[in-house]
Amino acid sequence: MQIIASGLIFGCIYALAALGLVLIFKTTEVANFAHGEMAMITTFISYVFLSKYGFPYLAALGLALLFALVFGIVVYVLVMKRVQSAPHLNQVVLTLGLFMIFNGLAGLKWGYQPTSFPEAFHGDPFKLGSIFISTNEIFTVGLTLVLMLLFFLLFRFTKAGLGMRAASQDIMASELMGIKVSGVFMGAWAIGTALGGIAGMMTAPVTFLSPNMMGEVLIIAFAGAVLGGFNSLPGAVIGGLIVGVFENLVSYYVAPELKIVFTFLLIVVVLYIRPQGIFGGAKIVKKV
């Protein structure tokens, strides 16, 4: 029980990161391999606010998210916008290039020495039923749930959400219908980066703050996103939770070092049975 609960808690972080990935992919069709590094930089920014300027946690979080929104927009406008219609491979390699730049810059500025990062709430774990849980973990889960809810409402019921859904279906038609596609894409990058940033700030207390902290998280988040079908937002959340639990089970029952190996075996098995992921839509047969 405890293992599953801890798995779900870390799964929330994967889910947040995966949600950002899928949001960007669903609207702009770019698989952003620099997602984790952008989250890492956001986390460093929040750390600067926290430690250097002594802001309270929530204020630092807010400011960092503001930064993430701008960061996402800047990356989109300066770089990604120009390869919107380029082959997917070019886009993927481009984000890998950004990955290296961000990783290098962070290393240059803040060094590769891991630093401890504060939790949102301190306090010893307490017992809830048969499982131990800390205030900070409750905060993580709560924040994730609130964000997801907010997000689904936004996507489903606002005009911006409608624009995003439309743009992801057909860029040209959306533009003809008066939707500003580049604005929508900008929004997706901004919100996606912010979601990643939150995931980063939730990760940092566990893994310590360093330029390489998000590498593994991103990869597992990718796995979760793929499991969920890669273009389904609820799929990303559930996929993230599944890999979180699965990874924790493997760590406990097999070996912690092999969690990535097993997670990917899971992915291969799932995709072999359902090539479009658990929540991916039916495979579209190309009309000829």
Partner: protein, 336 residues
């Protein structure tokens, strides 16, 4: 096609000559020789990866995993079973090819980003498995291996590497310009039409993975023999990214492109070594810059140069074609 091919022959010849002469040019410099070996290893891998990605359109972001498999294969077969070099080196390709088959079988059902993530998982898993399978791989401390007596000298072994590189360039060149290569490109361009022309798409996709893994395994084997030691940290996910960068920077679906990319991305980190912490940034900027400004890779510079002075005959054809284009284009517009 034929014209281009005959144009390419002197280039290839020049390349081979340069390869053969290199050890003489740099003399006994161990440093330059070892960079050269890495260029060869990465060039073979990049070409093999290009066969899969550039020609076949199947993404792999875990190719460093195959390099590791190749390296470990030679180490294990030499150290644990005492097999001779001439048997081990081909076996490093065969065994890696079999792993490629195992990866390829599920991969044929996947496309695009799904395949990317699965291959990434493979690339991440191999070092982890190597790290944890102590009895076979020596775990964290790795495995040492020795070259046979007659190749123990580096200046002898480098000719094995050169020979292998040249032969593999030739074989891959033969494959991509043959019916197989055409079938791979056809799958990349349209799976529906490929099927309609009788191409067994799942079979050929698996075949691509096997061929690509085979040659990558040999590159890994050569690397293992060269260094005389394999460990889990030899090739990381970072290496996979770099390989991907090589073929995109050089120019996809081009063997010379893959070689150019391999040279640049082997030499560039060496040049920037002194600027600690800047290596990643510089490589990253190089990737971003080239994708933004030369999306068809550096090889497209060469092709631009070629088009600048076409022969008289080609010029005439060009004109005929252009006038056709205007008429036909107008007809199409009218109907669309």
């Amino acid at each position: 096609m034929k014209q281009l091919f005959t144009n390419r022959k002197p280039w290839l010849f020049l390349l081979v000559l340069l390869f053969l002469a290199y050890p003489f040019i740099v003399g006994q410099s161990v440093y330059l020789i070892s960079i050269f070996v890495m260029v060869c290893v990465y060039a073979i891998t990049a070409m093999a990866l290009d066969l899969l990605i550039g020609f076949g359109g199947q993404v792999s972001i875990g190719h460093a995993g195959f390099l590791s498999v190749g390296g470990y294969t030679v180490a294990i077969l030499t150290t644990k079973l005492g097999l001779p070099f001439l048997l081990v080196l081909p076996l490093s390709g065969v065994i890696t090819g079999i792993i490629g088959l195992l990866i390829g079988l599920p991969a044929v059902r996947l496309s695009g980003n799904f395949l990317a993530v699965v291959s990434l998982g493979f690339g991440l898993s191999i070092p982890q498995i190597a790290l944890n399978w102590d009895s076979l791989t020596g775990g964290y401390s790795g495995l040492p291996l020795a070259r046979p007596e007659w190749l123990s000298n580096d200046s002898q072994f480098i000719y094995v590497i050169i020979l292998m590189t040249v032969v593999i360039i030739w074989i891959l060149h033969n494959i991509v310009k043959s019916r197989l290569g055409r079938a791979f490109v056809a799958i990349r361009e349209s799976e529906v039409a490929a099927q309609a022309t009788g191409i067994n798409v799942p079979l050929y996709k698996t075949l691509m993975f096997v061929i690509s893994a085979f040659f990558t395994g040999i590159a890994g084997g050569l690397y293992g023999y060269w260094i005389g030691f394999v460990s889990p940290n030899d090739f990381s996910v970072f290496t996979s990214f770099l390989l991907l960068g090589m073929i995109v920077i050089g120019g996809l679906a081009s063997i010379p492109g893959a070689i150019i990319g391999a040279i640049i991305f082997t030499v560039l980190p060496e040049l920037t070594k002194s600027l600690i912490g800047l290596t990643n940034i510089i490589i990253g900027i190089a990737i971003v810059g080239i994708i933004l400004f030369r999306p068809n890779g550096l090889i497209s510079l060469l092709e631009m140069f070629r088009i600048k002075k076409p022969s008289k005959k080609v010029m005439d054809e060009q004109e005929v074609y252009l006038s056709d284009l205007e008429q036909g284009g107008a007809a199409r517009d009218a109907n669309v």
